[in-house]
Symmetry: none
Subunit: 220 residues, 2 copies
């Protein structure tokens, strides 16, 4: 039945093996020849599966050394995806919107937790705003995601961040900074509705600028 799409089975087998052998990120997985022998497949076929996983950023191969489980954070997946999938406007908006879902939820969680609302990080961000230092949206939002404490949501967010193409690598503008100070205040005062409103306004403001320029202006 499953004679075609064998390399998908291999992907599954490798995943199962990793789980079974409890291989941790950074560890080495068996060599190509070993795996081919163990899984009873040709080396070429096995390599196709390995390459797929490599493009996804799940493993890392180093010539002469071996193949290793990646401690994630791989770039090429960003470019490949953004150039293929994100051509479609609807998908692009879905990614952005889903990202916002997790971000807003993180803010809700933070506002509901008094310990999180009264942290020194807010002062830190405020200082960076006042000192006119460079301030990146990604840094700020990442902090929110981490603070929310949901690791799975954080991972999904991290994924979506990569998928959303070339995002907010640029520092925030002066206009945005004027929005951020009230947002920080709202977070500290646990004023959830204000915080969310301000955040959404800010995010919507940025997105407009983002959506203006044609999407594909990236290369690798």
């Amino acid at each position: 039945m499953n004679q075609s799409k064998r390399f998908l089975d291999i992907v599954k087998d490798i995943r199962d093996m990793i789980r079974r052998e409890k291989i941790k990120p950074g560890n080495r997985i068996p060599s190509e020849r070993e795996l081919a022998e163990k899984l009873q497949v040709g080396r070429s076929t096995l390599r196709e599966a390995l390459r797929s996983l490599e493009l996804l950023g799940l493993i890392e191969t180093r010539r002469g050394e071996g193949t290793f489980l990646s401690d994630h954070r791989n770039h090429q997946l960003v470019e490949v995806l953004s150039t293929f999938i994100l051509q479609d406007k609807q998908s692009q908006e879905d990614v952005w919107e889903t990202r916002l879902i997790h971000e807003v939820s993180a803010i809700q969680t933070i506002c509901q937790n008094s310990k999180l609302a009264s942290l020194k990080v807010w002062d830190s961000f405020r200082n960076r705003l006042n000192e006119n230092e460079s301030f990146y949206r990604e840094d700020f939002v990442r902090e929110l995601m981490v603070l929310s404490g949901n690791r799975l949501s954080l991972k999904i967010w991290f994924l979506l961040q990569q998928y959303s193409g070339n995002p907010y690598q640029e520092p925030v503008t002066a206009t945005e900074k004027e929005m951020l100070l009230p947002l920080l205040a709202a977070l500290e005062q646990q004023d959830m509705s204000s915080a969310i409103d301000l955040f959404k306004t800010w995010s919507g403001w940025i997105q407009k600028g983002r959506m203006q320029n044609g999407n594909d202006s990236r290369d690798l």
Copy 2:
């Protein structure tokens, strides 16, 4: 310089070719041998690149026919990634909480859209409640997710649903039904805060019962 990672160059070349030739989703791309000849690489190496793109859901290969640009947006990569991401012992609370994030967000979207709020589905659900028919949480929430219109969020939700172990296959109890009627009313009246409160109360109620019995029964 770029002697290693040739298959990444091939991925890039294929992308450029698709852009240059203006190949649309669903169209066929040149055969493996043609591409290998044109790009001056071996067929095995080229296949590694193609497989990678296939696992990402960007292309589709059919034996005997050829290779095609995938036409329906494929977020299957989220699934593949998630099976790896979730391989480490992820606390069930995170999965559950993340699921709720998407569900609550769907309710927010629905409440903000008057067209969605005034649909006959609510009456349908209400009837099933009153008629004392079997009523499953999953059916109801799935409807919410679909109505929200974010396909990516829906896809992630499906995924989390599978990973949250043995979920809500049992019909809702009489006590829960008494919570559901006000929830339906709140949805129709676009009373967002009430709807969310009721939904969270209901969900929290169910989760308590769920967390009692042991969980993990996942496979794929």
